[in-house]
């Protein structure tokens, strides 16, 4: 029966379940200044910790003198690596199988590296204490160019790895080399290139940048000596993982460690891994017996916590002269800074870079990644990107445009010609992924129609003629980006973080009076889980979302989860939530059958309860069933109404989208105007369209910033030139373009509710759209590839190189 009688419509609306623009639960506290962020926490006797940091990018530490610092009023202790060695915490393991100094041990390897931790009664005294610590450095030669890192005479960075020619991911080629990772069929790919009609080869760099959430990283650690228990509040996107890591590196058993992520002001990948600040606040609390808070400044955040990207990708595509791609060959030089602190699943030192075949049907492909050390901040993390997917998408989307230019084909036309067809899904890519579902042609054509692509190309042609005739100094670009990304890490067969499989979890308990509490292993940092997770449960088991409280972030009560990053929450935890709700629904069905004196099979689930087939007036609502669960269950059944689900996803999910950017650039000033930006996203089933739209707006804004100027840049001496908001480009409301959003829906066949996740898509697809627009604008004047970011001055340099300006 499928009638949508007014009663049905009303009952469904009352649920506010999946698919509706449910307003957010979180907003009440945030709009009234009643959020509970880490720096809002105040405990009796709490102390503050702050770092002394190295001004040098590479130097030996000859001495550290803390005498003056200890005399500063309010300063209680100064930790150096010596003190940390005493508790075996001078170094800590990274998520990538490397080790990282917590406090500088003998030398420093990047500017602003942590050297000492000053603990004081308040943050002002701690700052004064830091000023007073005297460190004597002996400068060493600096290495900032990853292309020079494996030179014969390159400065040797890692004394601790001297002589070790094997790393966590296999053999090392050079003392500054970290790993080599290869995937694909090298022989077949090389052969395809040899035979190809047309090939392109280009060095495409994705520059270093930083996730920079508005709230920096911070923690409050409180060690209770009497109970032997450690409580840590922190900006953690993955609180359970932090707890397990804390237990592994300290002597405190895991059940005595309480990790809590309260409200977190944005993550974007910055808050996945562990930082020296967390470790030092913990040690300081153990040493002093008091709670210790650590709050980093913005400059500290940008210059010492994990950067993103810094991938230098040589992209080669082989094609027939008709424009059918035959092979893809990519080599990546990955700059990891001083320590490989990459936050990837452990078997993937280059993340899921092998999604680089993108949306296209490549018969064969091969890719190799070499990771190297330099004197820069350690990392990298996935800045709204899944794992290295933004890099891969940028590589292939630029590559396809370069190929289109060589073939003298329209970039959209080339893509349509090479898309994986709908019938080919599930699709085995040449680099080893099974894409779950997709309908690229429909999405692309919808997008092209909505923006009048043909009209734009006609306009561009006229503009090119006008430019050549000297009638205008403004060139016009249409940037096309059709991305397929891979999210939802991930299946236990190939995804783990330090050995812990990347499942996720949900525990739901329904109370006697019919409302419910659900705890999930993810941690929202702005994605609105308190609102959307309830929507899934509401639709799955018929309790209004307003009656469902969602909790995340307290590791004592939330079932184990791997946290929120890489758009994994909806694909993995969203599935666990649906499965837990279905377990409850199954039990509810049995109870309803008992109450209605029918067989279970005679019941059908109807929005908010169970109805007997053929006898529509015989109905039990979930509210009635909940009450009954506590006193009137069938004989042999346990009372109560709760369930927990740990979900090990069978596969990743593959959201995709079609983005178009229309841009005008004045060649004399390099100033660009984003005339129009259209983003069509397909994230499968859409839980809350309002939240999806918000995610797309936010991700596109980050992509805009990255493509057009946001970078972490170092000079030859290893000095960071963009370490504050003065120079690290965060656009205001004035620079930020207007975003047009659209969608198609191609559900994931393996996901319980068909949802794929969407948070990172706009950053994945956005950057190529902007960069392709700039390159598309200049292309008719003879350029093949202009590196991003596309600041005004760089656009001018490109114009100058092309002889357009003096």
């Amino acid at each position: 029966m499928n009638d949508m009688s007014p009663n049905k419509i009303e009952r469904e609306a009352k649920l506010e379940g999946m698919g509706c623009k449910r307003k957010r639960v979180e907003d009440a506290r945030f709009t009234q200044g009643k959020g509970n962020f880490v720096d809002d926490i105040k405990l009796p006797g709490m102390l503050h910790g702050d770092f002394v940091r190295s001004p040098y990018a590479h130097a030996r530490i000859k001495s550290i003198n803390i005498k003056k610092a200890m005399k500063v009023p309010g300063v209680l202790a100064v930790l150096t690596s010596t003190e940390l060695k005493g508790v075996n915490l001078a170094w800590m393991p990274t998520l990538a199988g490397d080790v990282q100094m917590v406090l500088a041990d003998g030398k420093v390897l990047f500017q602003n590296q942590e050297v000492a931790f000053v603990v004081a009664t308040d943050r002002y005294a701690a700052a004064d204490g830091c000023e007073a610590v005297e460190v004597d450095y002996e400068a060493l030669p600096v290495l900032v160019d990853p292309f020079k890192s494996m030179d014969k005479d390159a400065p040797e960075l890692r004394d601790d790895l001297k002589g070790k020619m094997t790393g966590a991911h296999g053999p090392r080629k050079h003392y500054n080399h970290i790993f080599e990772w290869q995937v694909g069929d090298k022989e077949m790919t090389d052969m395809a290139f040899k035979k190809a009609d047309v090939t392109i080869k280009e060095l495409i760099s994705y520059h270093r940048t930083h996730p920079s959430p508005l709230e920096t990283c911070q923690s409050v650690a409180s060690f209770d000596k009497i109970k032997g228990e450690l409580t840590v509040w922190g900006t953690f996107q993955a609180p359970h993982v932090i707890r397990t890591v804390a237990s592994l590196i300290s002597t405190i058993p895991e059940h005595k460690i309480h990790v809590i992520s309260p409200d977190v002001g944005g993550g974007f990948g910055n808050k996945v891994g562990a930082y020296p600040g967390y470790i030092c606040s913990i040690v300081a609390s153990i040493v002093t017996g008091k709670p210790v808070k650590w709050v980093e400044d913005r400059i500290e955040n940008l210059t010492s916590t994990s950067f993103a990207r810094d991938y230098h990708m040589t992209c080669e595509i082989a094609a027939t002269k008709e424009g059918k791609v035959q092979a893809l060959r990519v080599h990546v030089l990955a700059d990891h800074g001083a320590f490989d602190a990459c936050a990837d699943p452990s078997k993937w030192p280059a993340g899921f870079f092998n999604i680089v075949t993108g949306s296209y049907d490549f018969p064969t492909a091969h890719c190799a990644v070499d990771g190297v050390y330099t004197n820069k901040a350690p990392g990298g993390v996935a800045y709204r990107c899944s794992f290295r997917v933004t890099e891969a998408a940028y590589c292939i989307e630029r590559g396809m445009d370069i190929l289109a230019q060589k073939l003298k084909m329209d970039p959209a036309e080339l893509r349509l010609k090479n898309f994986i067809k709908r019938e080919q899904f599930p699709y085995q890519s040449a680099l080893g992924w099974e894409y779950d579902s997709g309908d690229y042609h429909t999405a692309m054509k919808q997008g092209m129609e909505r923006i009048d692509y043909a009209g734009l190309r006609a306009e561009q042609k006229k503009r090119q003629a006008d430019f050549k005739a000297g009638k205008t100094r403004d060139i016009m670009g249409v940037g096309v980006s059709f991305f397929t990304e891979i999210v939802g890490a991930g299946p236990s067969k190939n995804c783990d973080i330090l050995g812990i499989a990347m499942f996720d979890s949900c525990e739901i308990r329904v109370h006697p009076t019919g409302s419910a509490l659900a705890r999930v292993g993810t941690k929202s940092t702005g994605q609105g889980h308190e609102t959307t997770w309830a929507q899934i449960i509401a639709t799955e088991m018929g309790i209004p979302s307003a009656d469902i409280m969602i909790e995340e972030g307290n590791t004592d009560t939330a079932p184990y989860g791997l946290g929120t990053y890489g758009s994994r929450s909806t694909p993995v935890a969203g599935a666990a939530i649906a499965m837990a709700a279905r377990k409850i629904k199954a039990k509810a069905q049995m109870i309803a059958a008992w109450l209605l004196e029918v067989h279970e099979g005679d019941l059908v689930f109807d929005i908010d309860g169970f109805r007997v087939k053929g006898l529509p007036e015989k109905f039990k609502s979930m509210k009635e069933i909940a009450w009954a669960a506590y006193h009137q269950v069938p004989p042999g059944m346990e009372p109560g109404l709760e369930a927990v689900s740990y979900y090990d996803p069978p596969n990743m999910t593959y959201p995709f989208g079609a983005y178009f950017c229309v841009m005008d650039i004045n060649v004399d000033t390099g100033v660009y105007t984003i005339r129009r930006f259209y983003a069509l996203d397909d994230c499968g089933t859409r839980i809350n369209p309002m939240i999806i739209e918000g995610q797309v707006h936010g991700g596109l804004t980050e992509a805009f910033a990255i493509a057009m100027g946001q970078e972490i840049r170092y000079d030859a001496g290893g000095n960071c030139l963009t370490g504050s908001f003065m120079d690290f480009f965060i656009p205001t409301a004035v620079e930020t373009p207007h975003w047009e959003t659209d969608h198609t829906v191609t559900p994931s066949p393996h996901h319980p509710i068909g949802a794929k996740g969407v948070g990172e898509s706009p950053n994945v697809g956005g950057v190529p759209a902007f960069s392709n627009a700039v390159n598309d604008a200049f292309g008719f004047l003879g350029s093949t590839h202009i590196q991003m970011p596309h600041d005004y001055w760089r656009n001018w340099e490109a114009a100058k190189t092309l002889g357009l300006v003096k």
Binding site: D27, T31, G33, D39, L214, E215, R298, G698, I730, T732
Partner: protein, 166 residues
């Protein structure tokens, strides 16, 4: 260094306290008065997360000394809720139009929007964007913040909110 005595009216209440001359107003609010709604996002006066309304002006409280503005009248996000506990037009607008995600920029953004609407009760989209250019947001891309402020502006003018066509 000896402390100084400062006095303020904050969200309608008279308060006073002791602090150092160098104590920033944002720290006085957050640590002395336990009003943690106002946030800190940078130390170079760019992000605006610390914005409060001081004597009828939008001010970055991280760039003012508590002693420098002593005697002043301060409004923070906590003080924007209506006396009867209901949400003010702006707070409601931000909720209706999804003008926030992580919530960290929100208090500063709302307090700034409050003053913006006092300066100009009927701002165009361009005027709103220019008016909030001292407040950075990493989550929303500003588009829904603009709508939230338009919603509040209309509500305050007694009109019903009508979304502009895309």
């Amino acid at each position: 260094m000896s402390k100084v005595h400062v006095k303020y009216k904050v969200n309608g209440q008279d308060v006073e306290g002791l602090c150092e001359p160098r104590t920033l107003l944002v720290h006085f609010l957050r640590e002395n008065l336990m009003l943690t709604g106002t946030h800190i996002g940078c130390e170079t006066s760019h992000c605006g997360a610390c914005t409060v309304d001081l004597n009828g002006k939008s001010v970055k409280s991280c760039t003012v000394l508590a002693v420098q503005a002593s005697g002043g009248d301060v409004l923070t996000a906590e003080g924007m809720t209506n006396a009867d506990g209901t949400m003010s037009a702006l707070q409601e607008g931000f909720r209706q139009m999804h003008g926030l995600q992580c919530g960290y920029c929100t208090p500063g953004m709302i307090v700034r929007a409050h003053r913006l609407l006092q300066e100009n009760p009927n701002p165009s989209e361009e005027e709103i964007r220019f008016g909030i250019a001292g407040n950075l947001c990493r989550c929303t891309g500003y588009q829904n913040i603009v709508k939230s402020i338009q919603y509040a502006a209309m509500k305050l003018r007694g009109e019903e909110f009508k979304e502009a066509a895309q």
